[in-house]
Symmetry: D2
Subunit: 226 residues, 4 copies
């Protein structure tokens, strides 16, 4: 067992969604004391209540997903769909960070790891809302990471794409020959990442080994973006 | 006179704010037919009305400013301040683009130029909301730029900092010796850009000369970020 | 006529190659006093002699091309081919800059514009030497640009790809249906840039209008890279 | 013990220099079978001989250092100093990769990890040769990484700065109050990385856990660059 998150108290949001299930399973295997949260993050008071009730948080895993509306033309991207993406990806991130950081700053120790996206690093059309919101996450992490580093608290983001997960790559899509062809052409490594590979990076960023990583968005995309 | 925007119909938003006044003045000097708008952009219907009432728009200058709350700690950045920045910088950008693009796509000709910020390119602490929102603008422009390029419509952003303007560099700040010292240390060129220099780039991006620029965030910061 | 380079003395290297012919023609049309050089740049003394003999240089256009060996596997890229790319693209750039900068620094005015490549911005396989050398140019320009900005001398680079020129896109290649298909799929704008569009950016960077651009590598690739 | 490099055969170049000593020590602690090389890398034949004589190489650690000539003005950077930096940092990297890759490609398994620099990511003046050469390394790794990924071989680079090592941060410099002040102002984390923290990243990139990292230059600089 890699001792690096052993006995650390790790809060994982949206534990039943996106990278949540794999993250809970593997962090527990590694000996972390996992708080697998599935509560609503859509209001300031809900987030405050979640953090206040969670006790010590050594590591916050901000696992946030949203419909990406891939394929919708920008001219047909209506206000509710647009707004929803920010409501799910961006605003909860600030609420969670804002309420979790004070205890980390006080202890001069803590990590926030965000499961983000590589799409802002290699722009795609028909993905305007999702790109903008994932880009907001990256810029947020960079600014906040630089700000809180002097308290020995580290905030980083995994800028991933082509990682196996039920939210974006359901089995049916994976079996589609057109998708498989696309994967081979677009991703130099030629395959999806397993959840375990993705969580290995999250473990590294959650551990004491990565203290020198500050406000970074680390591409994790099999060479699709770097 | 540089003929490049002569007789082009140019809609400039928030014409009385940020880069608006300089932009209106110089685009008019260059022969553009300027629509200097100062209307409210806070709702979908207001933006739709503005664009529908503006007639032909050859060039949309998305000039959007917001309080940057510089100096506020991320842990003290409250919900209303956070939300306001997105309401002023991000959501109106989508509304304006969404409603202005169809006529440009139909004519197979048009430009959107966004006055954005370089802060996402060189992260600063105590600037979380502003960084995130300006980062969202950049990622939005990259995605939409790539999407609409095949219609010969170009969307680009000026990622600026250290440009003289009343919103962020009022005369009082400029006279402050500490600010002057900071300027010399942080900006390799050692001075603020004049509004005219900034608008020269906007003119270039608004003209037919820049058709090959697609979905770019062009740093404009005297070497502070590149 | 755009007065921005009128009467400026502009040294263009390798005037018979790559962007040279178009650059000479268009800068002359714009009223520049062009020195169209075709001399050898392969030694320190040759470069020193060229610059010493050129008199006043308001603008240095570092137009340098090399075989890109595209398609050669990295494991088959032999020492002479590897070395040649650096000898043609990288070492002459330093020699030219080193000898031309003192007179610019002394006058507190001058520009260096490099015709570089976008390939380092969107990595491609089977292009190792060329990518490395073009990447060296970009990093060189960024460092030198930041260094000399305080003397009001600006050094910038056009990170181009998909620009029509006889060195990389001979007519035969352009007529190839496979190439045309590739162009439509890879380049959001769906076409090559004309030399005139490329030179328009060079003119902008050579003019007094772009003093606030410092040490930048500006993507110019129709949306292929940004 | 972290099993991730256990029993892997790891060739570390310049084992007595830069990150070499710490790298040898820690990889051995982790159970790797280390070949600590100190041979000359200045010719093609020497590099070929080294690789041919090394037997199986699961992981190649390209540890290459050079004088950075920091402080030398670009106008005073003479040919021999310029050339030497490329001779030490860039050309050996290609030779090592070119000769080591075939066996990795044949086994469909292998890693190259380069100790590179973050300086190209945040441009500094008076550092032209070093910046250009370290930038060449980054672009090389990106291109080669993308090329060989389909063979399940991964090539990545640690873009580091502010990491304790005798080559760039001798004890005397570290004791200098001006340096300490500079460190606090420039590096958000406020301290140098220990060699162990740096090697932790190298271990991760050398292990099977990081197969999805392809052609990346990972900033490692305490927030100084990201």
């Amino acid at each position: 067992m890699d001792a690096s998150v052993e006995n650390k108290r790790v809060l994982i949001t949206q534990a039943d969604h996106y990278m949540g299930p794999a993250c809970v399973e593997i962090f527990e295997q590694e000996g972390a004391d996992v708080v697998a949260d599935t509560s609503d993050l859509s209001t300031e008071s809900a987030c405050r209540k979640l953090i206040d009730g969670a006790g010590v948080i050594d590591v916050l895993i901000a696992n946030l997903a949203a419909p990406n509306h891939y394929g919708t033309l920008v001219t047909e991207l209506e206000e509710p769909a647009w707004t929803e993406v920010f409501d799910l990806l961006v605003h909860p991130l600030h609420r969670l960070a804002r309420f979790a950081l004070p205890q980390m700053i006080e202890r001069r120790k803590g990590k926030i790891v965000v499961f983000g996206s590589a799409t802002p690093l290699r722009p795609m059309g028909r993905l305007a809302a999702y790109s903008a919101a994932r880009g907001a996450q990256i810029s947020y992490v960079k600014s906040v990471g630089v700000e809180v580093a002097r308290h020995n608290v580290q905030v980083n983001l995994i800028a991933q794409n082509w990682v196996e997960n039920p939210a974006y790559y359901p089995p049916k899509l994976q079996e589609n020959p057109k998708f498989q062809n696309n994967l081979r052409e677009q991703v130099p490594l030629g395959r999806l990442a397993t959840p375990r590979e993705d969580i290995a990076l999250a473990l590294f960023l959650a551990s004491d080994k990565s203290d020198f990583f500050v406000g970074q968005a680390i591409p994790f995309a099999g060479g699709w973006a770097s």
